[in-house]
Symmetry: C2
Subunit: 311 residues, 2 copies
């Protein structure tokens, strides 16, 4: 995919996701709760998870099915809501106690701790509400099939919970000041960030008719696991090499907090080499998937951008 | 329903719910997260919401349908997981800062603030995971239809989020030290506790074939709204009249925190009279529902117990 084509594709996805989130995250909500939710999720971040959902939906032909695009857009927004809520909670004083996120004061700095926690809670609930539009209320237009709704909820709930993101955060917390080896560090990240990235790809695929037991599903999962790990390694490299104003968050925090990172384990060069190896793995998995090569272009472009980004 | 019959019915439901939660809330989870989740949800509380789900499923004939009992039991456990997570978060220092719950130290006192917050987050995710069992993986036995799964997720997500429980908690927080009138207090409670109680009844009914637009659905919703309000009024009466050791939580906290209560607004006698009036409304709604009178016996018994309880 040429850079211009990627810009057109990703620009279109990002604009759809921002519009949909703007419509679904409430303006008028009790006691500024909606404002805190919107502050936490709108106009923020690279939307990598949303892009993965839409790219996987495109790769598997899901977007051509009735209501396939609606399902994928809902999946993309739901994953972003889960990711955004996890950042809001992660930034709280009882967790990482971070005051800067995406170049702005964090939600609890702006809205107070209690409201930030409730906003995160409500964002998680909203993710599942977005995934389950009322078929009866939708009227004439095609709407997301209940079987797809249930499948998306299952994938997202598993990825967000104790065996996924929340479990990874718990390990991360418990690991402060301890020495994790590479195996333990990989396990932590495979839950903390990997599970939701994997779910993003699987949710996109689940918007179509691709079944979990198929080789193509497994190949997409391999792609997603390689990218999840590469994403974290590159994160650690950037954290060690870039200033805070480029990252939009406080740089060097993990090293300062004595948390293990891939850079502290593998060194800068070793970490970069591992990321390059994982990119090869991800691209090979797409070839092995047997999915249409042209339709996989956005997934390929995303993999390259995950590894070669500078913030 | 005679007291002995109610004991048999509720004893059976409670034992099924405890067993199911014990099976679904993980023992082995990263970094004690599962232990904190189990501490927060097992062996706890009156399970009023679970009882309402099962009673509504019985009233609407849902339990006689294939997989209807499985759907209702999942709904009952999911609602209890949401309720339990909300208590874990509500007890945190940045919220109510409570150290005692159901006669035990609260989750953050036992497991630390960060792990308590993560356990709550993971309990919310688990609720939606419990509601969406994998049809393909279930093999031979009947499993919950995807359409029912999606409907249960929708009802629960709406009730838990910004227009329900989380929104009510936000209003509650913002109202400390202010003077709410009866209308504003009712609105706060209709979100904070009412939404999840209403969802409990609706989820039980949604396990069968009762459609939202029907008079019976509306009558059950009227029942649930009357009971939700009565529940809170009785809570305030007990908070003002019973010692902490009977309640299993710190009594008189709301009054001490200068929060408005029904007792402060209506007086003790006025609050008791209002609860009695709401019980009449709830029982009348069941008659008006047109549902089988015998099948409604558990819903009637629950209404009476909600109003006449002493803790």
């Amino acid at each position: 995919m040429k850079p211009e084509a990627y810009q057109v594709w990703s620009g279109s996805v990002l604009s759809q996701v921002e519009q949909a989130l703007d419509a679904w995250v409430p303006v008028d909500s009790p006691a500024e709760l909606g404002e805190a939710m919107r502050y936490g999720v709108l106009d923020g971040g690279k939307r990598l998870r949303a892009l993965l959902v839409m790219a996987a939906a495109e790769a598997t032909g899901a977007l051509a099915l009735p209501a396939g695009h609606d399902a994928a857009l809902r999946g993309a927004c739901a994953v972003e809501l889960i990711h955004a809520y996890s950042l809001v909670h992660d930034d709280l004083p009882c967790m990482d106690n971070d005051v800067l996120r995406r170049g702005k004061p964090t939600v609890h700095v702006r809205y107070g701790e209690a409201r930030a926690m409730l906003a995160g809670d409500a964002m998680q609930a909203l993710a599942f509400e977005v995934l389950t539009p009322d078929v009866a209320a939708a009227g004439e237009g095609a709407t997301v099939m209940p079987a797809v709704q249930a499948r998306l909820c299952r994938l997202l709930a598993q990825a967000a919970g104790q065996a996924g993101m929340a479990g990874g955060q718990a390990i991360d917390l418990a690991s402060v000041g301890t020495v994790l080896d590479e195996h333990a560090l990989r396990h932590m990240h495979s839950l903390k960030t990997g599970a939701l990235l994997r779910a993003s790809v699987q949710m996109g695929a689940a918007c179509g008719s691709l079944a979990p037991a198929t080789p193509a599903w497994q190949a997409l999962t391999d792609y997603a696991e390689a990218m999840g790990l590469a994403f974290q390694i590159v994160d650690d490299v950037l954290d060690a090499t870039q200033p805070s104003d480029t990252l939009g968050k406080t740089a060097g925090k993990d090293a300062d907090a004595n948390k293990p990172t891939y850079v502290s384990l593998l060194g800068l060069d070793g970490a970069r080499a591992e990321a390059a190896r994982l990119l090869d793995d991800a691209l090979s998995a797409l070839v092995a998937s047997g999915l249409d090569t042209a339709a996989c272009a956005p997934l390929r472009a995303l993999a390259e951008r995950i590894v070669h980004r500078d913030h």
